[in-house]
């Protein structure tokens, strides 16, 4: 069994690391130091951009979030007041609950589709398999905004195929954008867009399993189903953990799809539908930049804490322990 961590799963990320490890210095610490200096030099362009566009804005946003600016009375320092307000703001809390609900429904949905597709494609070796792989992956290649726009037309009672399809079975066409159906419509868009991507990640992990193991399993009398559930799935658990982490972070930051659908369903999707949308509306529609920073920062902390807890709980599966 190969034991290299697949947390950085794509081959591209792993391959360059290997020769470096092979050439790791054994001797003199001077040489080591020189290498370190060169290392820093090579990393510096990234660090510079990282500091300029991530670290600095983070501190800037945090600084902003400590002030309160109202339309009528100007700006003053209020410390953590904005945070206290955020965590007692029903709009923010409802938004959090909503993305939590999305996480509960959307992540398993994406994972099941991705896993099933990957397992099937892994066992098939026909040309059809590679074509299917491409087709399942294709939605990920479509920009999120374009994808959401496309779906907004598909959901449209007038332009969409819904009316035609439901006419065939003699049922009235449901409104995909009503307040009680828009949740499912959004889940569908995200699952459509991201499952293919996760499928490729899982598929890559499956391909890295030594085929000798399957042979051994076959000799021991395992059938296809048993091989898949008892051998393949446990062996790619680190990739699954990574997929769930990405999906979790993506879901907590849910923004683009509801913003695009809001254009055609302003009643069903309000300005505070997800915490990110709330921060956006606060800043750019209602010019409350300080409170918006506090909301964004609070969300950031929750995402960080959430991913950290998840990675901690699954450290065994992901090989991080």
């Amino acid at each position: 069994m190969t034991t290299h961590s697949t947390l950085a799963a794509p081959a591209a990320a792993v391959v360059p690391a290997r020769p470096a490890r092979r050439r790791a210095p054994r001797g003199g610490s001077k040489l080591e130091q020189r290498r370190q200096r060169w290392g820093w030099l090579f990393v510096s362009p990234f660090l510079l951009v990282f500091a300029l566009f991530l670290i600095f804005p983070l501190f800037y946003a945090f600084g902003m979030s400590l002030f309160t600016s109202t339309l009528a009375t100007g700006t003053k320092f209020t410390g953590i007041d904005n945070y206290l307000k955020a965590f007692s703001d029903p709009l923010f809390l409802e938004g959090l609950l909503r993305v939590a609900a999305f996480a509960v429904v959307m992540i398993p949905a994406q994972l099941i589709v991705a896993m099933a597709a990957a397992l099937v494609l892994d066992t098939l070796v026909t040309r059809l398999a590679s074509l299917s792989r491409l087709l399942i992956f294709a939605p990920y290649a479509i920009p999120v905004v374009i994808g959401a726009l496309m779906w907004s037309f598909l959901y449209s009672p007038r332009f969409g195929p819904g009316a035609t399809l439901f006419d065939l079975i003699g049922q009235p066409t449901p409104d995909f954008l009503a307040s009680d159906t828009v949740f499912a419509s959004l889940v569908n868009i995200v699952t459509w867009q991201w499952s293919g991507y996760y499928m490729v990640v899982i598929y890559a992990a499956l391909r890295s399993i030594d085929p000798a193991i399957y042979e051994a399993a076959r000799i021991d009398g395992a059938n296809g189903w048993q091989t898949a559930t008892r051998i393949k799935v446990p062996m790619i658990s680190s990739s699954v953990v990574m997929v769930i982490t990405f999906a979790l972070i993506g879901t907590l930051q849910f923004f683009t799809e509801p913003v695009v659908l809001r254009n055609i369903a302003q009643g069903a999707i309000d300005a505070a539908y997800t915490p990110n949308m709330y921060a956006y509306s606060l800043a750019f529609s209602y010019s409350q930049f300080n409170y918006a920073s506090a909301i964004a920062f609070s969300l950031g902390m929750l995402v960080f804490a959430g991913s950290f807890v998840f990675l901690f709980l699954t450290r065994k599966q992901s090989g991080l322990k």
Binding site: A13, Y60, L71, G267, A283, S285
Partner: protein
Amino acid sequence: MKSKILAASGVIAVAAAALTGCSAGEAEASCTNEITKPDATQVSVWAWYPAFEEVVDLFNENHDDVQICWTNAGQGNDEYTKFSTAVESGSGAPDVIMLESEVLSSFSIRDALVDLAEYGADDVAGDYTEGAWKDVSSGDAVYAIPVDGGPMGMLYRKDILDQYGIAVPTTWDEFAAAAQALKDAGAPGVLADFPTNGRAYNQALFAQAGSVPFVYDNADPTSIGIDVNDDGSKSVLAYWDQLVKDGLVATDDAFTADYNTKLVDGSYAIYVAAAWGPGYLGGLSDADADAEWKAAPVPQWDPANPVQINWGGSTFAVTSQAEDKEAAAVVAKEVFGTEEAWKIGIEKAALFPLWKPILESDYFRDLEYPFFGGQQINKDVFLPAAAGYTGFTFSPFQNYAYDQLTEELYAMVQGEKGSDQALDDLQASLEQYATEQGFTLQ
């Protein structure tokens, strides 16, 4: 993958980067139009009027010392979002900006606009009606120069009403009866739409029954009066709620692709519209080829005391980031200050002028519109509607107020609450917001 990891760690970074206002910039560098006199002072302008490039070229041709550098930074909220960010970051705003009159106080309270009284605004005050001037001024201060207005009328499909033998409604009672008659006749469409996201449109309907939602004066910027649940508004909303419940009107969101198609394919027999509505209709595709449009005055509550209403209308304001405020003020005052410019505006962009020399001209009054089968819609409908307009006061957080209105109306048409309750809740949420923002309630 890399982008995904970045996205993972960067939830705030994205928001924060945007918050710091990265859009600062080279307003001067990118003009949509060609500048033919490069030595003259350049004034950057954001505007989204159709056919505006011709107006800009005309201005530049006639001025040797000032040249307009025009950019279309998006329509309505898209532009306001950019402007708002530029105001917050302190740079990146244009010199002159097109703003609807309803958002003027939202920006003047943030010191984003220049008081044009110091730059000769009073010289042109006589060129505008009192109502139009009231919309852009506050006490002695003048925050913008009016451009176009939105007096309201009723555009209707004569062919559809004739087909079902329905008379053109002149009161809202007749309107409701017509809606019922159309339904009883088994027409495939409905009489009209009640968009919950109509924003200024819904506000105008309330105003017809005497609603004065906000009392606000820039001279006393921390004090505001809010009255959105008055009896007039409540009776109007109860009326529409009943029409919705009876299935006599649609509740489609306005300004979506579906809505645009329904406007012109006969799904709605009546489009209660502003004076810019004909231009909007004319720009839509998939129109019903046999459609026969006519314009009539907006229905009334009390035909003995007709009340005229207004929906939209835009202005040119000078931003406080303008380098040469004198030159910017010249642009704001003069870009739509000639008959030639207005002929482009009227014939190509379907604007309703607020500039009196053209507004009161025979040319405008007698203009025949091919879209309406040659009807003189200005004489018949929009000029009388504009004459009755006395101005309207908006809140300095109008965008928020509209968003809340949309939410409440949506809850109402979903059957979650009654019309009175919706307006009471709206009142409560606006009062709370105003207090949070440091205003004293009057």
